[in-house]
Symmetry: C2
Amino acid sequence: MAQVQKPSIPKGTRDFTPEQMAGRNYIFDTVKSVFKKFGYKPIETPSMENLSTLLGKYGEEGDKLLFKVLNSGDAFSKISIQDFQMLIVGGGERASVASEQVSAGGESCNATPVINSNALSLKVCEKGLRYDLTVPFARYVVQHRSEITFPFKRYQIQPVWRADRPQKGRYREFYQCDVDVIGSRSLLNELELVQIVDEVFGIFGINVCIKINNRKILSGLAEVMGFPEKLVEITIAMDKIDKIGLEAVKEEMLSDGVDEKGFSILEPVLTFSGTAEEKLSLISNVVNDSETGRKGVDELKTLFDLIAKAGISQKVEVDLSLARGLNYYTGAIFEVKALDFAIGSICGGGRYDNLTGIFGLPDVSGVGISFGADRIYDVLLGLDKFPKEAIGGTKVLLSNMDEISAEYLLPLAQSLRKKGISCELYPDSAKLKKQFEYAEKNHIPFLVIAGETEVANNTVNIKNLETGNQTTVPLAEAPAFLS
Amino acid sequence: MAQVQKPSIPKGTRDFTPEQMAGRNYIFDTVKSVFKKFGYKPIETPSMENLSTLLGKYGEEGDKLLFKVLNSGDAFSKISIQDFQMLIVGGGERASVASEQVSAGGESCNATPVINSNALSLKVCEKGLRYDLTVPFARYVVQHRSEITFPFKRYQIQPVWRADRPQKGRYREFYQCDVDVIGSRSLLNELELVQIVDEVFGIFGINVCIKINNRKILSGLAEVMGFPEKLVEITIAMDKIDKIGLEAVKEEMLSDGVDEKGFSILEPVLTFSGTAEEKLSLISNVVNDSETGRKGVDELKTLFDLIAKAGISQKVEVDLSLARGLNYYTGAIFEVKALDFAIGSICGGGRYDNLTGIFGLPDVSGVGISFGADRIYDVLLGLDKFPKEAIGGTKVLLSNMDEISAEYLLPLAQSLRKKGISCELYPDSAKLKKQFEYAEKNHIPFLVIAGETEVANNTVNIKNLETGNQTTVPLAEAPAFLS
């Protein structure tokens, strides 16, 4: 412990200060209270999952973004030198046997031999950090199916890790906040999620638009376009329309192999604007030849009927261009945008029909949404919507003039806390100026002072630091005064 | 996503079910509310810290227990084949520098060549998972010192990871729950921590004994024993007295180089039983020749005076054999044991004078304690002390007989939630028996049924599943009835 280090944290990660934590806790406490009111229950899963659970679930790109954890103990000691040699690739004709490669570290004619990084990492890492909460949830449901009563309504608020290139608003560790119901196909679940979104953003005082579409409609569209096998490419391209515009989306689809005729069927759907009814009527005609498409339109209609009956305060709209990248969605898809603050979607999700299949439990349908805590934080901060009382801390600072004054005020601290008032006795006998500053910097509104006179008279001096008012009250009356 | 995997999680990690989460949240919410009342504020630090922040802070053993995270991207591709060759140790004449140690460790002439696992892991891992909350806190304080107003009172509740051998009650991922004040030497801080412990376990209804000692007394003891340089060995041996007994502790100390005469000074201190005053008087005599020892006795006396004045409900005692393993403690040390449940310590901590020194900020004194959430959970469960309301979930299940009945009950669900009553509308039109079972398994006390008759009469049937009582009330009166 000799040499001094300049402290820092890994790039893409963050410390959260008390002020930031107060805002974040307000967000988490709010969503939790709403989830609970709708009967959702919390679970938590380990930060580390077996890599076999995670690999292959997020596409090739996702696999690369997994943080792998080195096996504990001497991770490399179980690998023989021969194994290492086998992992060397490049270097011309050599590759298999050991000794030669050494000299091969070669300059001239042969490609420089390198280690097969991915293969080696899988030999020394069995675990990875959770990439999202969805796959661990699917794993949880399958592993605990015998003890779960379906439909299973759960929420989960935990950090996830992605080895993404850090940039503004994109972190390598961030919280996800997921709410799902699994084991029920009823559209009442979709309605419930819309109600939850409505209530959460109502409490936050953020005006949002809840955009809804259905993946079956997208499948139907791909069918009637004549390219059912290109559903993934079509949805990926569509998903970018807000960012890159219609022309670029068209270009991408054409380069993916969709033809002009196919795109001409899609184009009016992407550009149409109108009421939910008008949109549903349009899309109903377009996908009429696809059974899946008709099913999607039916589901969307039923959901909008339920929404109309339930009465949602926030804006809800059909967005036929909404695609959402994730391939596991099979029914309704949602996205929530803030209306008064420019930021990407702050909440999103959808229905999936076979998430648990890979873990051996097929045909369990579920639907869920995820709240983007970081973005919601930015919106609340940007719109100045954090309620003062939610982020407030200590209410009363009891000053410490000397040992006698401190011990004189000790029982008052206890009385205040008994009344639920958060208070601090300044621990050191310091200049009053210093204690004032401490109160100010910590936004503590009341300062209680007991100098010689107050101690002698069994009183205290209470200063309201917001108004500057100062009052002397009997010690015994201070708790009532400060309540 | 083709082949089916049997789902599992890494050994030493856990899933938390809704029932377990309810208990854990009760614990965390309780300690948080107490921390807040005493003016402590939350912070969070990243799960991953730079390995340079963590290594060397927990002793050699601790370094081995760190989980290392593989660098993202192709971790191994930056290592040349030559670098790899340099990391091979053993194999006779090969391996340039290392060769001698190798044959020394080896059997006959040539040991099998192996990779220097530790050196390689440091080449491919820059980050590690947090091992505790104390070192990250020290790092935080130094990194943020310009924005912190001292004394800084913070709490932090986050998971930590240790590559320990998993066994009953010992996990590789577990939560720590730390509360510290840093930047003040006042013993009022120690008192405050005792008050916090008192209040927390008071709320939990767990009877505890708060054991207190002072590391300066231990230093003084080592001095008067004649082995000041063996303080670490002496405290490590003492720390085991509860587990291995006096004789074994003596044996360990003698084998560490302490002589019989030295141990004879310590022995009466370890075996003495009496009141706090008697113990303080004994130890005051024993360490009288050591200035540090006298300072420790003074601090302990002052703290016990403060405790007597403040009035603590739980049992508090001087424990002169209490040592606590961690070397960074320099003043008061604490340990809390449950009196009515056999389990190790459920809370512990102490004062440290130079934790931030390694990060470039010397002479900042702090004191803190850590609550063992897993053990507290076990105690609450074992003593059946979890309050029913704290772990309760949904209060009302609205049954779903068919589409009409579901839509009939939808507005009632909204009214109940507006009143803060958590309720669920069963999403599928299922047999009533199934919905009954769902309510029972989820411990939902009220079931609301609306069959054809109820819908026609604008009423609902409310069944109390605990008592079996059933009542029909007008739909509009249901919210009041269920409040």
